[in-house]
Assembly symmetry: C2
Homo-oligomer: 370 residues x 2
């Protein structure tokens, strides 16, 4: 019961902003004594803070306002990408306090080596956060693969199967697919629209559908594998065993060809290089086909292109929008808006940090061990 009431009070502070204890009692229906006792616990845990007087306390007297604290606790977002490891520290006001990326070649890597690198990154960022006065209360990890029951089932580009990742930290810990977490990153740190399909362009291509502020995960948590939607049924072989999947046409490898990096591709595109422009057109055309199927099946509010598609948006937008327009016009009138993610490559690692904040708000007693 106390755990439930803690969640009610913290949830109210989160939704309604700074409020006096008296106002919190009124909003929650709890007694002032109970609210005061719960707020004490939250103050002690560093989750809320007291600020100057606000109006609207009882009988018009100014009261001391309680709000989420940005100064004492924070959450850790982590990401294993094919070619880097990343970490970020986010405080409870959703301000990014720290961001670290370490280039790494994780393609067909051994889990042990990569996880050791990640462990070092956790240690380093936790220490750095500590120097800034921030205690890390939990961590979440974004992985480029499917996750079931806390186990990384299949990350084809890493070459990992059935890897249980549990010993990165002693703190509350979660692991999820990078596209799902990137969608949450977009929801909490990007445009903050409540209904969209986030398309995560990476070496693989994932998607996270958000409906009414919640990620749709499907039956086994495997929904959103946009990269293997069939674009051309007898097209080139895909590493998934299928043929003509979207990834074959619009994954990072297809877009880069023999170029070394997305930055290099952007430079070529800016100079009008024909092969680079053609690669983007081919990818955009395939994306238009796959997204048409996704719109018909999943009915997203809008489409947000993220990951490597963010810096390439200028060149992709035309062919993608054209494909959607022609194919969807009759069935839908206006196809869903096509927009670029404002947080680009950071979406997944930010979403991971945000996930722990969400869990804290939903159940502070559990996350804080109160």
């Amino acid at each position: 019961m106390r755990a439930r009431n803690l969640a009610v009070v913290l949830g109210t502070i989160h939704r309604s902003g700074p409020n006096t204890r008296a106002a919190l009692a009124e909003m929650t229906g709890l007694t002032k004594t109970t609210v005061s006792s719960l707020v004490s616990d939250l103050l002690e845990a560093g989750v809320v803070t007291e600020s100057g007087a606000v109006r609207g306390g009882e009988r018009g007297r100014p009261g001391v306002a309680v709000s989420l604290s940005g100064h004492r606790v924070a959450t850790l977002g982590l990401e294993i990408n094919i070619d880097y490891l990343a970490a970020c520290v986010v405080d409870l006001t959703r301000t990014v306090r720290l961001r670290r990326t370490r280039p790494a070649d994780n393609r067909n890597s051994s889990p042990a080596g990569t996880l050791q690198g990640l462990r070092d990154l956790v240690k380093e960022t936790t220490a750095e956060a500590g120097e800034a006065g921030l205690r890390i209360i939990g961590a979440a990890l974004a992985v480029p693969g499917t996750v079931e029951g806390g186990v990384l089932r299949n990350a084809p580009h890493l070459g990992w199967r059935d890897v249980r990742i549990a010993d990165l930290t002693d703190l509350p810990f979660a692991i999820d697919n990078e596209a799902n977490l990137a969608a949450l990153g977009e929801l909490w740190f990007g445009s903050r629209a409540a209904d969209f399909l986030y398309v995560s362009g990476e070496i693989g291509i994932g998607a996270g559908l958000v409906v009414g502020g919640t990620v749709f995960r499907g039956t086994f948590g495997l929904a959103g594998e946009l990269g293997h939607v069939v674009v051309v049924p007898d097209g080139p072989a895909c590493r998934c065993g299928g043929q003509g999947c979207l990834e074959v046409y619009a994954g990072q490898d297809a877009l880069l060809g023999d170029l070394g990096s997305v930055a290099e591709l952007v430079a070529r595109l800016e100079s009008g290089d024909r092969r680079a422009v053609a690669a983007c057109e081919r990818a955009g055309h395939a994306l238009g086909v796959a997204l048409t199927s996704a719109v018909h099946l999943m009915d997203p509010g809008r489409i947000v292109l993220g990951g490597i598609y963010a810096p390439l948006f200028r060149w992709l937008e035309g062919p993608v929008a054209e494909g959607l327009g022609v194919r969807l016009a009759h069935m839908r009138g206006t196809p869903p808006a096509l927009v670029v993610s404002g947080i680009g490559a950071d979406a997944a690692v930010l979403g991971a940090a945000g996930l722990i904040i969400q869990r804290l708000i939903a159940d502070p007693a559990q996350v804080l061990g109160l």
Copy 2:
């Protein structure tokens, strides 16, 4: 408050089967006086009935059990299909009491004429139900098109756009897409599994995804348009304005060719007619491609083929399963099971009747006007 308590009591009776008033009071936390008064209302409305003594009443004495009544009220399911109108009457024990189908050519029809036919059908079935002692308490209508806010937005094969269908009956009324209602029909009257993608093969092809017993509807209620998933991006023109949609290869028109009915196609298939077998193989191949995309995006528990695909299942199963197997094996290990719907063409109209039962259980005061 009384409305909420009515729902609590009726919901408990629905979930737990016959129970005494004392047992209901214990299970709901309401007083015995309150339960007795609520049960009286439900008895009077014909929603529940009293049956013989059961054990387990208070202090071990046998008590009179209250259970859902199958004898006094019923709901009406309705369907506008391209080539027929249908109605069914289902009592609260989910027993089908009446089933009527009227052949009709509704393709590119005028709403006024078709709706008059439906109104006649409502009158006729309501009267017939009345003769059997059943009072109809609400009706729902399945339509082959997209529905938003009670308005039929777009039913391409009917040729209808933005038709508000409100005056079929004075009773509580609902309207929904036929594939969504067919999925609910499969859930309540078919296999009763809680996680599946119901594929509704008709002149158009729709799909209803059920996850944890709930239909996934997307952002605007337009999810599940499987018929316009792209199979071949530069394939034949589809009436939706796109090209190479699933419907072009696996809709009823493509399957029948110049044959007059599904029964005729089945007869040809049974006699080993090559053109008929080839049409099924082509449709099955296209279904395998589109369902691969659907599995990757929506992650269904299993795939249920219904509508005209039910009588054709013998001939479709092989090519569909092969396509799913080859394309999904590496990503998923085992692809979702592919099964045939046991309720075939009746799924949508049964789901429509079931929808009103579901609403009655959820909010009896509103549906019954108590």
